[in-house]
């Protein structure tokens, strides 16, 4: 057996630096190797293609896509790549993306706890705040990746199939493709901000439970609860405090001129909630006894 290494500063082993533990790359690879990551990201690529194929079955003559100003998104979906992307985002924003973000952010700590590998990371020792930071950043990167994959695939497939046409919606006049792309990116950006609430909630649950399913499911359930409460107009002004209240404000980004009022308020709401949840998560995790 070889002679062990000599001693580094503050009594640490040679080569050990707290800030070098659990590098982002390492955590990124840890998560990338997981089947659920691959499946979730793969589905993000697959979904636009499935929608595309489904539109091929359009028999025509049936335009009963419901009423309201926004049913037009469905009708316009096949008018061009940008509109197809918009439609793909529209159908996935209310639930699918929520689940995916909750999966990435809710599973990350809880699953390590359930495997028992969390205590070995803490014994490395990876400082707890660093562990959380790295895990959170990587989870957010994967969430963003999912969003980008979904939009990117939809844009690519939609453009190949339906062409590079202006962005149309009945909310506003037609937008030139360049302008439309900018709007689309703004919509994606706003969605990403809104989903921070889910990310925050799922992450907070993730550090409080050892059951990954509990964290993911809990975050999705609370999101749904908030959406239901938001439908109850009797709550009046209280609804503005629900994290989901501004979740569809991105539609305002499609109008001309762009309506940013609700977008700004939604961003404030989402960032405030996310900060609160993440703050609680860090506060809790850096103090708790890890017994799993």
């Amino acid at each position: 057996m070889a002679q062990s290494s000599s001693v580094g500063p503050v009594g640490a082993a040679v080569g050990y630096r707290p800030s070098a533990t659990l590098p982002f790359r390492a955590e990124f690879r840890r998560q990338a190797s997981r089947r659920r990551t691959q499946l979730a990201l793969g589905f993000m690529v697959l979904l636009p293609l499935i929608i595309l194929i489904a539109f091929q079955f359009d028999s025509g003559g049936d335009d009963d896509n419901g009423r309201g100003e926004f049913a037009s998104l469905v009708d316009l979906a096949t008018s061009g790549g940008l509109n197809f992307t918009l439609f793909s985002i529209f159908v996935s924003s209310s639930f699918l993306l929520v689940v995916v973000v909750a999966l990435f952010c809710g599973d990350t700590v809880a699953s390590e706890a359930s495997w028992g590998s969390l205590r070995y990371l803490l014994a490395v020792p990876v400082p707890r705040a660093r562990l959380l930071t790295v895990k959170l950043v990587v989870a957010l990167v994967y969430s963003a990746l999912a969003l980008v994959l979904l939009a990117g695939t939809a844009l690519l497939a939609g453009t190949l199939r339906y062409g590079w046409s202006p962005l149309r919606s009945q909310v506003a006049a037609e937008l030139a493709p360049g302008e439309g792309l900018v709007r689309l990116l703004a919509v994606l950006g706003y969605l990403a901000v809104i989903l921070l609430v889910v990310a925050g909630l799922a992450f907070l649950l993730s550090v409080t439970t050892d059951a990954a399913l509990g964290a993911v499911g809990g975050a999705v359930l609370l999101w749904i609860l908030s959406s239901i409460l938001d439908q109850i107009t009797a709550l009046g002004g209280l609804r503005a405090f629900l994290p989901t209240h501004y979740s569809s404000a991105w539609l305002g980004l499609l109008s001309t001129p762009v309506q940013t009022d609700d977008v700004v308020r939604g961003a404030i709401s989402a960032i405030a909630y996310a900060t609160l949840f993440w703050g609680l998560a860090f506060w809790r995790f850096t103090r708790k006894d890890v017994t799993s």
Binding site: M1, A2, S4, S5, V7, V10, G11, A12, A13, V14, G15, Y16, P18, A20, T21, L22, P23, R25, E27, R29, R30, S33, R34, G68, E69, W115, G116, S117, R119, Y120, L122, A123, V124, P125, P127, R128, A129, V171, A172, E174, L238, Y246, S248, A249, W250, G252, S255, T256, P257, Q259, D261, D262, V264, I268, I271, A272, T275, D289, V290, T291
Partner: protein
């Protein structure tokens, strides 16, 4: 039960679970807050007095009429604190109830608000004279008298109350006429009302008078129906009005321009003697005039005179009360030009006038929230300054708004407000010219105006006219003239003008000129459904001979985007208007001039959105600052952390001092543990299940905070996350691997997480110890328990840490592997390294370890070198044929003592006496000795514990 036990238990529970207590308190507070919010009493702050009062009016002031009134009086109004008053008039077809919410808002602002149901409506008596100066206006004068007589209303002079008059539509007309007739009025806010009633109902856009006007039959019919027998209005109309999203009176808040609740909504009480079914509650002269106009589609002189009597147009120079004119853009009944005429007339007399346009109106209701908020603000500002005497002079800046699109959340319209210093009128500040093109076209006038184009539907709301885009021009009945796509956008604010030529065999034609905004896809939008009716006379037979006629199009506020075209349509029919019944064919062509679009240079009104933007920026900044502060504090705390080396333990791999761990529920897992692991030692932490071994190791690994005591690793104080932990390799509470990775990948992933150099890991040696062979490339989820255990030990040894801590390392291993593990551990504890092994198996500790620490129930019961503990103890186990006899023999031996232990055999403390001597003595006494087994100290200690009680100590 009076025993103190439950109390003590509760106290303990409360003390032991502060977190739950806090959570419970938070929940209770939240629920209570929600209940209080839900059950909070409605805002009052004022009281109401309803009364049916009789006033005398009419030309001679001697005709009594009953008026249904409600006075909203602020609670603090009294003779010593007199309050200013507001006379709040309702719209046509409404009652005092239509303006209740507005009245409540004003009352909350400190005004005494008098609302009443105008004569001819609801419970009030009398007939409808259309805001006649002799009737409705005089009624209102009498109401002013009543206000002046009250002890709690502020007076300017005896009999002259401090009063503002506010009203929309019919009520707005009353406000203007009252202010012209009665100098006691201090300020007025007429909304969406008329200047000249005859022009409003008989408009003509080339500048001809009402006798040449085109009858606005749609609106006229609705109003005539609304003033008829209560409840007998056109079916569904009252419903339409009530269902208007923006127009519902109750939803609109402070002085909101309301067209009225629509006909028939008031608590109907047909006045006694409403004999004529064709007139309903209309006064006979009004009714007769309407019947004449509606029959012919033309107004005669007396009818126009009657309507002009009810119009402010002729009396504007008598208005001295400062006037805030609020007019709706979505208003086909009283368009913006009516307010424009009022504004110019009043301003000419030197009276302060302010004009505001909003996106609602008789068609658009109260408009989007931002608009109704602006109107409320302007109204309150106006009244506060000119009636209450609060606040600075509002100034005379002109504000207007433009529909900006749909609200994504509320599914309503969104309006952007604009402001400019001076009121530019409807002709704009700057005029932009757009050239139209199109050949002369023949258009047919349909007989009896049917089928007719639909440009607007009264009360349908702005949404419909905006969304539907194409307003249904009938082929063959309209001519189109279009511009090229605009190079850049143009913001039209005001009334565009265009010149057309027309020819007809009949010599005259009624035409409707409209301006469409046509998007690049061909979708045409008629802004707010507004059309300009013209009646052309003396027309030549061919269009070549025709003279161009200037047509003033309706005033609009609209942004025409770049790339859009402008289209002027000249149609022969419109459902909202009465057209000649005779069929005819006219020819229409463009005149000699361009289309002139008025524009206004205005700046957007900052909204709360700007504030929110700052809030967002502030929030982000606060988060950034907060993060920096947290990081700095953490760094500082980290730097302050004791990094000194305790000199006494500098060379000691592990020193545990008075360790105590008490869990949140009060359970003491470790009460006082104190031991050392020195270089070269393999120390066994021995104890039964639940003795506190695992808790000790958890603290040692920084997973759990100790309640008291310290741990030193090479002299460094160990706390969770201490860097010195990097010199410890651990297996605690079983292996923990990523199930989807192979054994080797797991080890690599672990080492990657340490961030230490790859070469320091010594993978080969670790893998050799794991001894997994090719299985190291299989996924760990398929591993057996033993394989995982070996991989976990290998992981603990990665980097060859100076202290190896293994919790039950042989768990799951087979005997040869256990033997191998022993050798590995003994070999490992060389070169200054040390190993700490926890086990509940005596034999394992005995065979593997150099030193042992025996713990039970969280305390150390024995510790020292294994040889020392294991070494021969003075006690011996004797298996004898006759224990009782043997006991007697042994008791006689000096110093020898029989211990009260041993089943079947005798445990004897020989206390220095040689075993051979004791055996000889027994044999001598004739007792057969089967076995003599020397006892060892460790076993003694351990069995004493286990024998005592190995159950019920719980998991530690």
């Amino acid at each position: 039960m009076r025993s103190p036990l439950p109390v003590a238990r509760i106290r303990r529970a409360l003390a032991g679970r502060p977190r739950r207590l806090v959570a419970a308190v938070v929940v209770v507070v939240l629920v209570a807050a929600a209940l209080v919010w839900a059950a909070r009493p409605d805002r009052t702050g004022f009281r109401t007095e309803s009364a049916l009062v009789t006033v005398r009016s009419g030309p001679a002031g001697d005709q009594p009429v009953d008026l249904d009134t409600t006075l909203y009086l602020p609670d603090d109004a009294s003779a010593r604190h007199r309050v200013p008053a507001v006379l709040l008039a309702h719209g046509f077809g409404g009652t005092k109830e239509s303006v209740r919410s507005d009245a409540e808002d004003l009352a909350a602002r400190g005004y005494a608000v008098l609302t009443w149901t105008a004569r001819g409506f609801g419970r009030s008596g009398g007939e409808i004279h259309l805001d006649s100066p002799d009737y409705e206006v005089r009624d209102a004068e009498r109401l002013l008298d009543r206000l002046a007589a009250r002890p709690d209303i502020r007076l300017d002079a005896a009999g002259d109350p401090r009063v503002g008059v506010v009203g929309g539509s019919y009520g707005g007309g009353l406000a203007l006429l009252l202010a012209a007739q009665d100098r006691r009025v201090d300020a007025i806010v007429p909304m969406i009302t008329w200047n000249d009633l005859s022009r409003a109902f008989l408009p003509e856009s080339t500048g001809k008078g009402p006798t040449e006007g085109v009858f606005k039959k749609g609106w006229a019919g609705i109003f005539f129906g609304g003033g008829g027998n209560a409840g007998s209005g056109p079916a569904g109309l009252s419903g339409t009005a009530a269902a208007q999203p923006e127009g519902a009176p109750a939803s609109a808040g402070a002085p909101s321009p309301q067209p009225g609740a629509g006909p028939g909504t008031g608590p109907g009480r047909a006045p006694a003697g409403a004999a004529d079914p064709s007139c309903g509650r209309f006064a006979a002269d009004v009714c007769a005039a309407y019947l004449r106009i509606a029959t012919t589609g033309r107004a005669d002189g007396p009818a126009v005179d009657l309507l002009r009597r009810s119009s402010p147009a002729g009396v504007l120079d008598r208005i001295t009360a400062p006037t805030l004119l609020v007019q709706g853009e979505a208003d086909t009944l009283f368009p913006l030009t009516e307010a424009d005429a009022n504004a110019r007339g009043i301003a000419a007399a030197g009276t302060p006038v302010r004009v505001a346009w909003f996106t609602g109106g008789h068609d658009g209701g109260a408009g989007p929230t931002s608009d109704s908020d602006r109107v409320k603000f302007l109204t309150a500002q106006w009244l506060d300054h000119y009636v209450k005497g609060d606040g600075a002079a509002p100034g005379d800046s002109f504000t207007f708004s433009r529909i900006a699109g749909f609200d994504a959340l509320d599914r309503g319209l969104v309006a952007t407000g604009f402001r400019t210093a001076d009121y530019p009128g409807v002709t704009g500040q700057v005029r932009r010219e757009v050239t139209l093109a199109g050949p002369a076209q023949a258009v047919a006038n349909p007989p009896n105006g049917n089928p007719a184009a639909i440009s607007s539907v009264p009360f349908a709301g702005a949404l419909g006219s905006l969304l539907d885009g194409v307003a249904g021009d009938i082929p063959g009945q309209h001519a189109r003239f279009e511009s090229e796509p605009l190079a850049d956008p143009v913001d039209v604010v005001g009334a565009p003008t265009v010149r057309i030529r027309a020819a007809s065999a009949t010599g005259e034609a009624v035409l409707f000129v409209k301006l469409y905004d046509v998007d690049p896809q061909g979708g045409a939008t008629l802004p707010d459904g507004l059309v300009a009716p013209v009646r052309l006379t003396g027309l030549p037979r061919t269009v070549e001979e025709a003279r161009p006629v200037p047509v003033t199009l309706p005033a609009i506020v609209r942004r025409v985007e770049a790339g859009h075209r402008l289209r002027v349509v000249v149609a022969t029919s419109d459902q909202a208007y009465a057209t000649p019944a005779e069929p005819a064919v006219h020819t229409v062509a463009l005149g000699d001039g361009p289309l002139v679009l008025p524009t206004v240079d205005a700046t957007p009104i900052p909204t709360t959105a700007t504030v929110w933007r700052w809030v967002l920026a502030g929030l982000l900044a606060a988060i950034a600052v907060g993060l920096v502060v947290v990081v700095l504090v953490a760094r500082r705390r980290h730097r302050r952390q004791d990094s000194s080396i305790h000199p006494a333990y500098a060379g000691v791999p592990l020193a545990v001092r008075n360790l105590r761990k008490e869990y949140a529920d009060g359970f003491v897992a470790v009460s006082d543990v104190d031991f050392e692991v020195r270089p070269g030692q393999v120390v066994g932490l021995l104890g039964p299940n639940g003795a506190g071994k695992t808790t000790t190791l958890r603290v040692l690994m920084g997973l759990t905070q100790p309640t008291a005591g310290e741990i030193y690793v090479f002299g460094h104080r160990l706390v969770p996350g201490s860097p010195v932990l990097s010199r410890i390799g651990a297996l605690v509470e079983g292996p923990g691997f990523l199930p989807h990775l192979s054994g080797l990948e797991n080890l690599r992933a672990y080492w990657r997480a340490t961030g230490r150099p790859w070469a320091d890991a010594h993978f080969d040696e670790a893998l050799e110890i794991a001894g997994l062979g090719d299985s190291v490339h299989r996924r760990t989820k398929n591993y057996s328990h033993g394989m995982r255990q070996r991989l976990a030990i290998a992981q603990a040894m990665l980097g060859l840490p100076e202290l190896l801590v293994l919790d039950e390392p042989t768990d799951g291993l087979d005997p040869p592997q256990i033997a191998e593990m022993r050798r590995v551990l003994q070999r490992y504890a060389t070169d200054g390294r040390a190993v700490l092994v926890s086990s509940h198996l005596l034999a394992e500790v005995e065979q593997t370890c150099t030193h042992a620490v025996v713990v039970n129930k969280g305390r150390i019961v024995a510790s020292g070198p294994v040889e020392e503990i294991v070494g021969e103890s003075p006690s011996v186990l004797f298996d004898v044929s006759d224990p009782d006899a043997a006991r007697g023999v042994l008791d006689r031996l000096a110093g020898v003592r029989v211990l009260p232990d041993g089943d079947g055999g005798l445990v004897v403390d020989t206390n220095g006496t040689a075993r051979s001597e004791v055996v000889a003595e027994l044999v001598r006494a004739g007792i057969g000795v089967d076995r003599v087994v020397p006892r060892r100290r460790l076993e003694d200690a351990f069995l004493a514990l286990v024998g005592e009680n190995s159950r019920g100590s719980g998991d530690r």
